[in-house]
Amino acid sequence: MLKAELNYSPCFEPVQPDKLGSFLDRLSELATQGFQPLAFWGTDERLIYALMGKTGELELLCTPFPENLHYPSLTPLFPAFQIFERELYEEYGIVPINHPWLKSVRHPLGGSVKIADYPFLKSASKLIHEVGVGPVHAGVIEPGHFRFLMQGEIVEHLEIQLGYQHRNLLKMLTTGPLAEKMPLAESIAGDTVIAHGTAYCRLVESLAESSPQASDIRALLLEMERVAMHLSTLSALAGDVAYIMGQNLYAALRTTVINSTLSICGSRFGKRALSPGGVNYPLNKTLIDTLKAKMQKCAGQIESTSEAMFACTSLLSRFDDTGKISREEALRFGFTGISAKASGIAVDARADFPIWDYPGFTVQTESSGDVYARAYLRYKEIMQSLIIIQKLLDQIDPSAPILAPVKELTPDKIAISIVEGARGRIVHIARSKDEHSALWYRVIDPSLVNWQALSMAVAGEQVSDFPLCNKSFDLSYCGSDL
């Protein structure tokens, strides 16, 4: 058991494999104690790993591949394992017996099922009709397929098929020197550059036993990314219910925020900014002052825009009670980020596994678990992040060094890094092979577990509320397809 403290990205000797029986017993025991599976995956060493975590505590365990590649599924008792067991099945052919929904996830090269032959749930009832949407959507968004089983206008069941974005990214992270994979880490999800980038940097630094410079600039960029992403979601949510003023005002505010990120590093998404060892571009006094004034002005504008939007009754009648996820469901399925916090669960890596000091940080939550909760929570998180941003801008020392050289990796170590991105908890975990490269590298984007929440939220809703529900979660396709 590892206990989290500040600066948390542990690096340790590889764990010893347990026998399958005691591995599964321990997982059940931990799950019963309130631990969630943060990651659960197989590797080419023919080991199944499980990373279990709850506030401030982590446990990593592993077991050899079971004989005959069968084992009793954990999902029936602990549904949070469902997507992880499907990945394990797809990647290594290990069958979790009695898994209720054993289907492929990403359709990688050489997989048993081609993406066009995916076995959707069918209904024999004459009352049910099917609606298929995607992978090419009406808007400018990433590809994914949504298959609805409908009774009239009501969604009986939604099955989400992903994998269209699969780029073989995890394998690419282990090919060649790990410390040179910054651009690849930035492309895990191009809208979550800083969060994934920071997780990658921390992991490399941890494996190399180096300590990075300019953590406060990283923290600043991360909070700015959160503000920008939440603004983007609020803009789209307003657009989905034809509240055009909100759509435009939030979009313009997002422009201001991401243009500020550009003024730091040259990219509106924070690409180029980070590097193992620190950051690539310093902040001078003039820029700090400009950013402070801009973010201050933004805060006022976001406040007035949100006051207007959340007082608009026609908008609220669409948001309220739509797409509900109960606290119970969110806990059972191990949802993370906005999807969990909007259902009243105070889970946030900034509090649970802090890599930086956020004095007085409290996790923002909402309790109703509907579209309204997920929207309003985003507003609350934006305002909280803007306060953190001002504090960081006050403390950044323009003359401090920004980049420390990163040493070679320590061979045969495992490192974990956890970062709270705009969508929730991002987990990177890797085992070093030699001084340069990784034996395996695993990335868990919060979207991977949260897509199930969207399926559950739209069940029983009108299909016309689907875009609204979808946007309220605002999940990443490439982040889960990798």
């Binding site: 808007g139 780029r167 313009a252 550009l262 509106r268 690409k271 007035s304």
Partner: protein
Amino acid sequence: MLHLLKARLKHGYQAIPDPLTVGIDPAFPGLPELARDADLTLLNELCPTQAFTPQGLDLGRCIFCGLCSRKYPEMITFTPNYKMAADSREKLIMAPGQTALPKIDFILPRKFRYSFALRSVSAAGCNACEMELGASNNVNFDISRYGVETVASPRHADGLILTGPISRNMADALAETWQAIPEPKYLILCGACALSGGLFAESEASDRAFLKHWQACLYIPGCPAHPLSIISAIVSIMKGS
């Protein structure tokens, strides 16, 4: 209502008056300039996408990560010129000493001068290019002022704008969408991944056969392409540059 008026007044006028000439933050890495004596082999050793060819820097491959310009500022600088696009892949190579890209000769037929409808297809794009494409039509950049719109159905489109390296799993959907667009139709590639495969050029999960069959008329570099780059490029083939 009063809340709304207050919010609206606080915002003022948000649209960029002229996106074709507006200045950009000098931190923006746009069109690169290579010194005449730049050592292209040395630069290529650093480059994550091997964008340096013996002729110069291939903007189709460049992801503007800045590794080269930070290490060898005397050999290469990225100017804040966002007008970067070409009507062929070959024209995207910036040779040492070169300060501008060749003029875009391709011009759409006259009937598209004031109206050009595009269908966007993301084929394993990381959502950065997709978001920039979306931003091109937001209240600030407002590409629709030039008669450019992104339409929901390929049947309503005059062309297809592609983002992403084209994953194997998206190859069929891309081909089908292209097929559904009525003639005459035009293909635009947006961002390093679409242009060359970018970081994923060598990925086993990429399948770029589509581009062997179909010729694009416009190539917009960037990682991601900036909305101002996208707008100036598209407008230049509608109205001439």
